[in-house]
Symmetry: D2
Subunit: 345 residues, 4 copies
């Protein structure tokens, strides 16, 4: 059993880490760290727990410590749910101190020597860890997972990219409230409303997608345009994706490629890997956010309405994924499992 620290454990994504690690066969939450406001409090006192299931008993009474290598002791692995404003430096400190940091923050995602890992899509990128250690002269490592919307989309794009190639992707998102953290979006701003703006989200989708679908040191060579919108759903990002493939691809071909797709995490039977990374829904009005977001325990994406796109000579479809599981903590944990299976941990 590896002991894990969760940095930023009291926030929305931190809570998901704690929840997903409960009963995990390989990792256990041994240390919870958060900003100094929570220092010295018990986890259950410091956290406005947002879920119907109770705080895992063993974690509830842990004392919250500072997110520094000196305060976080005796752990084997570090999960970071820190806000981007502070994550960059802190995560480096941990890597310098020899820890492997699985980070959900955006700070290091685009660093050329940091894997931006969605493991069914680009497991091979873990080789960047070697380069990172060489360059940065540290024993630890920083491994990031993608922005939530990007994690969901790239999983659906992977079989298209591999089978038909891609020239262009246009995506329009309808993103859930939990993506903004807690308290996040004010209720007065979202009841009977849509907010057509999420800070930096479009830029992330446009850059991270290419890094993930590319070679470890060479981004993919296609074009991506995103328009990102917040709607009044609790969890689950829905995305309308329009793809111009390099080679002709019928909706049936694409459905088949997606349906057959499995990645290395499936082959390795990693504990958090869903049986099918992509689940195809054939009903005309699916996937739906509330009904399908928990597919594969929140680790699968569901795809539906695959149809011809008359503007791009391509295809369009709907993809849905759980933003705080596949799009955040779940992906990070799967990355850790993958690292372990690959002897990087």
């Amino acid at each position: 059993m590896l002991k894990a620290a969760v940095l930023g454990a009291t926030g929305m994504v931190g809570q998901i880490f704690v929840r997903l690690l409960e009963g995990h066969p390989w990792f256990e939450t041994a240390v919870v760290a958060a900003s100094e406001r929570s220092r010295g409090l018990k986890y259950k006192e410091a956290t406005r727990w947002r879920f119907p299931t109770p705080i895992p008993e063993k974690v509830a009474d842990l004392e919250v410590v500072d997110p520094t290598p000196s305060a976080v002791k005796d752990v084997d692995i570090v999960f970071s749910a820190l806000p981007a404003e502070v994550a960059g430096k802190i995560e480096e400190d941990f890597a310098k101190a020899g820890y492997t940091v699985l980070s959900n923050a955006s700070s290091h995602r685009m660093d050329p020597d940091v894997p931006l890992l969605n493991p069914e899509v680009n497991g091979g990128h873990i080789s960047l860890i070697d380069e990172q250690r060489r360059r940065r002269k540290w024993d630890g490592a920083i491994v990031t997972n993608p922005n939530c919307s990007t994690a969901i989309m790239t999983l659906s794009l992977k079989p298209i990219y591999d089978t038909f190639g891609i020239k262009r992707v246009i995506v329009s998102t309808m993103q859930a409230l939990s993506g903004a953290g807690y308290p996040g979006v004010a209720s007065l701003d979202i009841v009977d409303n849509v907010i057509p703006y999420i800070s930096k989200e479009e830029e992330k989708m446009q850059t991270e997608t290419l890094k993930i679908l590319g070679e470890p040191s060479k981004p993919a060579d296609f074009r991506v345009s995103a328009s990102c919108h917040r709607v009044a759903t609790l969890d689950g990002h829905m995305e309308a994706v329009f793809v111009e493939p390099k080679n002709e691809a019928s909706p049936e071909d694409v459905a088949k490629a997606m349906n057959n797709f499995i990645g290395e995490p499936q082959k390795l039977k990693l504990p958090t890997a869903p049986a099918k990374p992509i689940v195809i829904k054939t009903e005309e009005d699916r996937p739906q956010v509330r009904l399908d977001r928990m597919e594969g325990g929140g680790m699968s994406v569901t795809v539906g309405r695959i149809r011809k796109d008359p503007a791009l000579d391509g295809i369009k479809y709907i993809v849905l994924g759980h933003n705080t599981i596949r799009g955040a903590a779940g992906c990070s944990i799967l990355n850790a499992e993958y690292l372990k299976a690959k002897k990087y941990l």
Copy 2:
């Protein structure tokens, strides 16, 4: 004062007709017609009125009649809010009986001799009325207004089309509940949910757009692809639009073209014409559904976030419009005003 009949007056769009015609300087609701279920009832008894403002007093006590030329008498103009399943035949009956029918139904929209009129965009299409009368040998006329999402989008596309030309348009919608009529979408289907499917909506956007932006007898020659989604807003359709123009167009150029745009209804100072058909919002998170849908009394569309599109070498933006006003009854009434100003009524 012209006497108007409203067909399908008890439904969602029918109610908007009644509401918008209250106090109209040229038209008054003289007859309300609906399905036989309502026959003989007073309008106020037959209608589950959906608005905070009361039923206009003069209309409240009108007796509901059948939507047939024999039951609807002594009117000068006919507004049709009939459901598409029955509208086609009934509207023809009225045209044969010599009435000019302003129809919100989809039945005749794509008929080559029927104007599909969004008057700031394609006022010139009214010339099709002459052809229609010749071909169909009737004295009346059928004039349709576009599908709600299409009415909103084409208004925003018009200045781009005229100034830069268009090669491709991709659009992803977030549409309001009132677009599905009443009772329409079940509450259990939409709380904490998005439904990524609206029957026939994508096809309508993909065909109607080209008819509207084309010449009276020649559709425009570009490509359109739509993905349509229902979200939990009451009124107001938001659309993320991606445009590949024929000629280079910077966001600033496009904003200027939109901002300067006025149509013939504005020049004619028609009563329902908004001062500005397109209102540009410069805040980074606007337009927003609840805050901006009533711009120009619901007859303007608001546009924001005009920015470069890296996938199409073009631009992308958000457009918002009121689906039951600009996208339905309001557009129909503006069409009637336009016909009158052009001596077709």
Copy 3:
């Protein structure tokens, strides 16, 4: 394993029956019956399944039959989720044919010889079955469970009634959308709204409560007044309850009585009985609908904010329960288990 028929299996509550019976240790769904519209279809074709979990495999392909004793064959027990308009007669037909019918419909609830059973509260009322058989000269039986709001409230009132006596109860509800079935409440009626009216709900709360808390043949002797309101939640009825007890009862006394309360189903360790029928929340802002409705698998009610009531010289509190589980199908299944344990089945 007893074979069960579910009548009204395609509706909202019928679906919950099917879902809750999946994996049940004593009962299995062997027959699904619904109105003739569904006759001959497979269950999965006839049902607009409303849950994230899939239709239980064995039930999905069952052919839907008519809800008549001649069409429903070879079952040991009948669960009825029929609408009240038709339930009365059909349930009698089944009882005449020798079946024990566990009914969620209101038709027979107030019949003097029909148990209205919330088994932790009034298990003893099953003795009415003997009287029912004698009077009605049938071998089967009809056993009903309470209206959803009443099931939830009476569970919370029971320890108060037993410990302190009750003179008056005033209750104001905030009820979930699923209580109205599917499609039920129109989304246009409930977004940004509350509807302060639910047909017959107040009358049910005011009469059923007294039958349940009384002796088998003698209603309890106190006064109840209800005001019922629909809010935009998916599942879970919240109720603000004001109680004037016969004897002095401090909030602490009441909390203790509730916390210590268990019923016969708990003692009998019935499969659907929650460990604690009443779970006390001590946080100042709990129970909350979304966070607490699944307490005890949806079979517990949660109570919070027990405090003095300055108007009634009594106490007031908030109680929350799952309306389609404890308030409908779950209670019905618990009743069946109780009947079996008591050798009535």
Copy 4:
């Protein structure tokens, strides 16, 4: 034209003051004051304006000043929308400096020499101003308006109190999000949820009601119990009210008393006074929050479902009012008008 300062002008209630004062025949917003964070900014820069209508042009460019008598100059009247934490002291400073302060804050509401004024209900309480000046030795005055829920309820109680007397009142509220200010309630806390707790709200309803319905120096002698809940509506507080009157009162009697009720503001034809303070709805499912909250420009309350109460030998009904208009800024402005009509200004 009297020049008005609005203290706390950038917040939710402050914005309503600015909006309601636009075009007011007697008062104009001449100075906007807010916390030092906004100091020196233009009002339009300092404010996250929450309404579809634009910021009134004259106010948009006003510079925000500190809420102190030295910074706020040349005004004739002061409206305070300050948060309770700071309002108490600041309002006293203004009163000392000779200003009449119309306060929406709770700080001074229960001071024995401060009118808690809902002018149709207890206009006579303005006589407390004389006592206040004598006691506090200042030339200005502090006049408060009630807590939002209390303002709405007391208006509906007044004709009952006057006609039949009152022994007990029990009230259960369903309150809108705007009552919590901005950003207020987190969207993640309220989608698909109800929060059964609003800090200090129940205490306010239980004490303020008695002060308002009593004599200037003697609270009314009946008992009030409140249970307060937050639901996902934008504006408009709904309240289920149960009343035990002193003398027998049938629902018809109560409806008649409410319907005939007018107060002094109506007789004085004050600009903000609605024609009818209480509007009776006779439909079985009204009032509804979204449809009825703007009755009388948001200054009327609507009452429906007046019916017998079997628990209290009394009556129960639903009352709805606009929480930021009748329940806050609108009431404050009506108070100012009333003071002016009564020569206190």
